[in-house]
């Protein structure tokens, strides 16, 4: 169930907001001045419980995850528990030494790419950022680590996606993923505009055109197709509230995925910044299976009510606007003006 289906159930971890860059579009306002990091022991304890709850993939993000010193240990332990592992990085700190430490434990490395070099450097807030990132790619290829690029789509940069696709193909990437900008954190401070539904429609046309030009590159445009969601509401969690006993009997991953472990230790559904009213638990909150059982019993119904509300909000639209940013819609609704009929905190 949910936007990534039943087979892959992801936990995205933000172990620190420390970063070597201050990117304009960073939704978590990460940067060199940010200190603090989640304690590795608590994370491993949490992952053990989460594996029992049916989660099978871990994505490390941040901040810059390579600024998190225990990263290799965390990845090794996650792999040992049976998780598929990914790391999302700006690429600059990806030295040969880091690559050697990560290679045995990571399934895929995703590198942020914001367009042609000058656009990339501007968004990254650092002249030369593109060139520094590019210099790391030869070592990745030599280590035979699968890697892809993540392109952040704004209202004004779709014309650079073709350049990014050519670059990704030339560099031997396996994946080019296109994420709509989230208007949160520093993106809000810089007044960056996310693509609206009209721009997402054009983005889809461009992706189809680029797929034909680069058949060996996997493209993934991360938007919800309204007609698919209308046909299969479970992809957006828009289902009837089941009998509580039935929900409690299922592993958490069968009810909600992805999960996000924020830098403050809260485990929230769906996305960074999701309202804490719907938090599943905390990495320092003891046995995660116990916390998950409590969430299923007390808060799952309110989460489903929120999802149904968002589903009906995004549903009707003209034929020329078939796509929308569901993650943004449900995250914004979770904290702004949504009052479930069953209060999450009092249920």
């Amino acid at each position: 169930m949910g936007p990534t289906g039943d087979a892959v159930n992801v936990i995205q971890i933000h172990p620190t907001l420390r970063c070597n860059l201050r990117c304009q579009h960073c939704y978590s306002t990460s940067g060199p001045e940010r200190t603090g990091a989640l304690e590795i022991g608590a994370l491993l304890h949490f992952l053990t419980g989460a594996r029992h709850e049916g989660f099978n993939a871990v994505g490390l993000s941040g901040g810059e995850p390579l600024m998190y010193r225990p990263l290799p240990h965390l990845l090794e332990a996650a792999r040992g528990l049976g998780f598929v592992t990914t790391v999302t990085t700006n690429g600059i700190p990806l030295t040969q030494r880091w690559i050697g430490r990560l290679a045995p434990h990571v399934s895929l490395i995703a590198i942020s790419l914001d367009g042609a070099p000058e656009s990339h450097d501007r968004m990254r807030g650092q002249p030369g950022a593109f060139q520094k990132m590019r210099q790391r790619l030869a070592d990745l290829r030599a280590a035979d680590i699968a890697f892809g690029f993540i392109f952040t789509l704004t209202l004004s940069n779709l014309d650079e996606l073709g350049w990014a696709a050519q670059f990704a193909a030339d560099e031997g990437a396996c994946l080019l993923q296109i994420h709509p900008l989230e208007r949160a954190g520093r993106a809000r401070d810089f007044d960056l505009r996310p693509p609206d539904d009209l721009e997402l429609a054009y983005a889809f046309l461009e992706v189809v055109r680029l797929k034909e030009r680069h058949p060996d590159l996997t493209f993934q445009l991360d938007v919800a197709d309204r007609s698919l969601v209308a046909r299969e509401p479970c992809r957006a969690f828009a289902i009837s509230t089941p009998d509580p006993a039935a929900a409690c009997a299922l592993p958490l991953a069968a009810l909600v995925s992805p999960l996000v472990v924020q830098e403050d230790g809260y485990v929230v559904p769906v996305q960074h910044g999701f309202s804490r009213d719907f938090a599943i638990g905390h990495v320092d909150g003891g046995d995660f299976r116990t916390q998950a059982a409590r969430w299923k019993r007390d808060r799952y119904a309110a989460f489903l009510e929120l999802a149904r509300t968002v589903w009906s909000d995004i549903g009707p639209a003209p034929d020329h606007l078939p796509f929308t940013n569901w993650y943004n819609a449900i995250t914004a609704r979770s904290s702004a003006g949504f009052t479930p009929s069953v209060s999450p905190s009092s249920a």
Binding site: Y27, G59, S61, V84, Q177, D197, K211, L221, D225, F323
Partner: protein, 108 residues
């Protein structure tokens, strides 16, 4: 409800790529109809999380259960999911148990 920002068309990235007039909604809908024959968005991932196209799992089973375990695993095959399984016997000369390794790969 659709979300469309009112702004000068020239400020859109798409304006540098497409000849379509911004208000020609029927032409855009027609182009999308053709494009959607070629690509369907089946899953969508959260910001900063790369798409994962395969997962693996392994487990142990007794020889008497091997057939039904594999049958259940193979039932997972679908248009969207390719599932393969490998079996490794443990025990000589008669296997005491089998380790079954399953890989599920998605068709993007």
């Amino acid at each position: 409800m659709a979300n469309v920002t009112k702004l000068k068309p020239a400020l859109r990235g798409s304006s540098k790529l497409f000849d379509l007039e911004p208000d020609d909604h029927s032409a855009l809908a027609k182009a999308l109809g053709v494009a959607r024959e070629k690509y369907e968005i089946k899953w969508w991932w959260k910001y900063g999380q790369p798409a994962i196209d395969r997962v693996t799992a392994s487990g142990l089973t007794k020889p008497g259960n091997l057939g039904s375990v594999l049958e259940q695993v193979m039932k997972l095959n679908s248009r969207e999911l390719q599932v393969t399984a490998s079996c490794f016997p443990y025990g000589i000369p008669v296997p005491d148990y089998y380790r079954v390794e399953v890989e599920a790969r998605r068709n993007f």
